[in-house]
């Protein structure tokens, strides 16, 4: 973290700094970096530390209790080989992909975009009330949202009492269709974010363009596909990335609603890592799963940051 360089600030508006003629440029730069120390130390200890520890720990047989907890041994690639032979791991990958694509990429994005577009042609009270409701689901603490979703999809919950009132005996959603339940719950909880991103983006589409398209006889669908979507494509890609990263690490919602079950039928990667480490006390193995997730997250992050590059520079 100390790649301290000695750039003499070009005398621009942001380069001036307090006048300290006595010091050499190198010492001055060092002095200027001092305020970065607390943040850097925290990040190094608690962000970089666990990442490094994760790679290291995934090569040990660390356990939760017993002798292997105090003195874990180096086991090389054993945890990763175990991953490959564990039927729950490919299943967890598949469930994670399903969860991310269905609830984030499709669910939240499409619902968010649709809501943002519908809001524009809605009357004011409807718009205010509906957007408040949508945003409330997102502002609530995650565990409370999880309780609400649990109650909704429970065998004796709201969903089935609604179905019952029209004469349909609903299934036990959390046991028979656990993935469907958690996917819908995550759409319910997370759509607000996409809706806000898209309504801001759409409000910046110049009305002249849409108007010109209308004059040329474009239908509503054509205007959406050929005018609105291309204009807001940057917001779409940013939003896709962010919702993907968020959804990849959803734990509480699934853990409260189904506990990853029945069996491992809704165990996405975060749930599987938690269960292997704390329920089955195989910390080393859980760490290997965590490492895989970190790598996946890092790949997505790099793609995302590259797409943002012009704005950082």
């Amino acid at each position: 973290m100390t790649s301290v360089t000695a750039p003499l600030a070009p005398a621009g508006a942001r380069g001036a700094g307090p006048v300290r003629p006595r010091r050499t440029p190198a010492r001055r730069t060092a002095g200027r970096l001092v305020p970065l120390v607390p943040a850097t130390a925290l990040l190094a200890l608690f962000m970089l530390g666990p990442v490094v520890w994760s790679f290291y720990g995934s090569f040990t047989n660390a356990a939760l209790t017993g002798p292997n907890a105090a003195n874990p041994e180096w086991v090389g690639l054993e945890n990763y080989l175990q991953l490959l032979s564990d039927p729950n791991f490919p299943k967890a990958i598949w469930l994670t992909v399903l969860f991310v694509i269905a609830s984030a990429v499709i669910g939240q994005n499409v619902a968010g975009l649709a809501l943002a577009m519908l809001m524009r042609s809605a009357v004011r009270p409807v718009r205010a009330v509906v957007s408040t409701l949508v945003v409330t689901a997102w502002v609530l603490p995650e565990i409370v949202a999880a309780f609400a979703a649990y109650a909704f999809f429970h065998a004796d919950g709201t969903m089935n009492s609604l179905l019952g009132s029209v004469g349909i005996a609903g299934p036990d959603w959390l046991f028979e269709h656990p993935m469907l339940a958690v996917i819908l719950a995550n759409v319910w909880r997370g759509t607000a974010f996409s809706m806000m991103v898209y309504s801001a983006a759409i409000s910046e589409v110049p009305p002249e363009i849409t108007e010109a398209a209308t004059v040329d006889g474009a239908s509503a669908v054509q205007r959406l596909v050929w005018v609105t979507l291309p204009t807001i494509r940057r917001s779409i890609s940013t939003n896709l990335m962010l919702t993907t990263l968020q959804t990849l690490s959803v734990f509480t919602l699934i853990y409260v609603m189904t506990g990853g079950g029945p069996g491992t039928d809704s165990s996405t990667l975060p749930i599987l890592a938690y269960q292997e480490a704390f329920k089955f006390a195989q910390v080393g193995y859980g760490t290997a799963i965590a490492t895989v997730m970190l790598v996946i997250g890092a790949v997505f992050s790099v793609v995302y940051i590259r797409s943002l590059r012009p704005e950082v520079d």
Partner: protein, 311 residues
């Protein structure tokens, strides 16, 4: 250099006061409402409203359960209007060990996290915003990368790291960890707020011989007070709602925040005392919702808490 925070997306997200989605083109829309499904504007408008009302109901039902069940003497898991409205659920959970101690723990944890984060990110943002150094860009990239890392994925290694460092079940340790995880986003936000404070005022102070830290304290910080409040509240809400981190790192019930104790309550009584669970949820959610309303007023419609509140 008017960057927005990464999670808030490149476009400033409009969350006006009262969380109505802002639509600047109101006057224009009145003239020619963009149709959604058909070319007849009036029926399209009606259709949009109907669809929105249905969607609103879908969002309302799970939320309504919390509110109604908390007031219901014999609450079930299905949403329904209480036959006899009562505050007994609230008075049953409003005991020190059930609610107040965990809420106080939540407050200490969240306020501590917010304070550490704001102090560290103000200090870090100052050189990043005021000096042009070759160090800035890699640092900001690293920070941006940090905002993206899935924290959930780190919790197993964090647990074993905390065992090693002897920090398990320590409130300060957990607070510092949560501060570190919210730092990347906070540094981004703080730097952007600081960038918008004009440097000319500081130059006057520098000429008078004030040091960088004095200038920061006397000139810059007073000018960015609303921004600092936004960052603090943002981090506070995030910490307040965080379940997984304290769930893994804090083991003694007396130290656990409301997020964890409410989960324990759910495990013990969740299958019987639905009304009390809902009442507890209400008490626990209220500060987060109130602070969100406050911050959306503070920041007007040009900025939103998009992103990390969710995590």
């Amino acid at each position: 250099m008017a960057q927005t925070t990464p999670a808030a997306s490149p476009v400033p997200v409009g969350v006006g006061a009262g969380v109505a989605v802002s639509t600047p083109g109101t006057a224009h829309r009145r003239r020619r409402p963009p149709s959604v499904a058909s070319s007849d504007p009036r029926s399209a408008r009606l259709l949009s409203n109907v669809v929105l009302v249905v969607v609103g109901l879908c969002f309302l039902l799970p939320l309504g359960w919390i509110v109604l069940a908390s007031l219901d003497a014999s609450a079930t898991l299905a949403v329904r209007v209480p036959e006899d409205v009562t505050f007994a659920n609230y008075s049953a959970v409003m005991t020190p060990e059930q609610t107040w101690v965990p809420l106080a723990n939540s407050f200490v944890l969240s306020a501590g996290t917010g304070l550490i984060t704001v102090v560290a990110s103000v200090l870090a943002a100052y050189p990043l915003s005021r000096y042009r150094m070759r160090f800035n860009k890699p640092f900001m990239y690293a920070v941006l990368f940090g905002t993206c890392l899935p924290i959930t994925a780190m919790m197993v290694p964090v647990y074993s790291l905390f065992v090693r460092l002897n920090l398990l079940d320590s409130l300060p340790g957990t607070t510092f960890f949560m501060a570190a995880t919210s730092l990347p986003m906070a540094i981004w936000m703080t730097k952007n707020f600081m960038d918008s404070v004009p440097i000319s005022l500081e130059e006057a102070a520098w000429t008078d011989g004030a040091s960088a830290m004095t200038t920061l304290r006397r000139v810059v910080l007073p000018l960015m007070r609303p921004g600092l409040a936004v960052v603090f509240i943002f981090v506070f809400i995030q910490a307040w709602g965080n379940f997984f981190v304290p769930f893994v790192l804090l083991l003694t019930p007396e130290k656990q925040p409301a997020a964890v104790s409410i989960f324990a309550f759910f495990g013990q009584y969740g299958s019987v005392a639905y009304g009390q669970l809902a009442a507890y949820s209400m008490l626990y959610s209220l500060p987060a919702v109130a602070l969100y309303v406050l911050v959306s007023r503070l920041s007007g419609s040009s900025f939103a808490l998009a992103g990390a509140v969710k995590g």
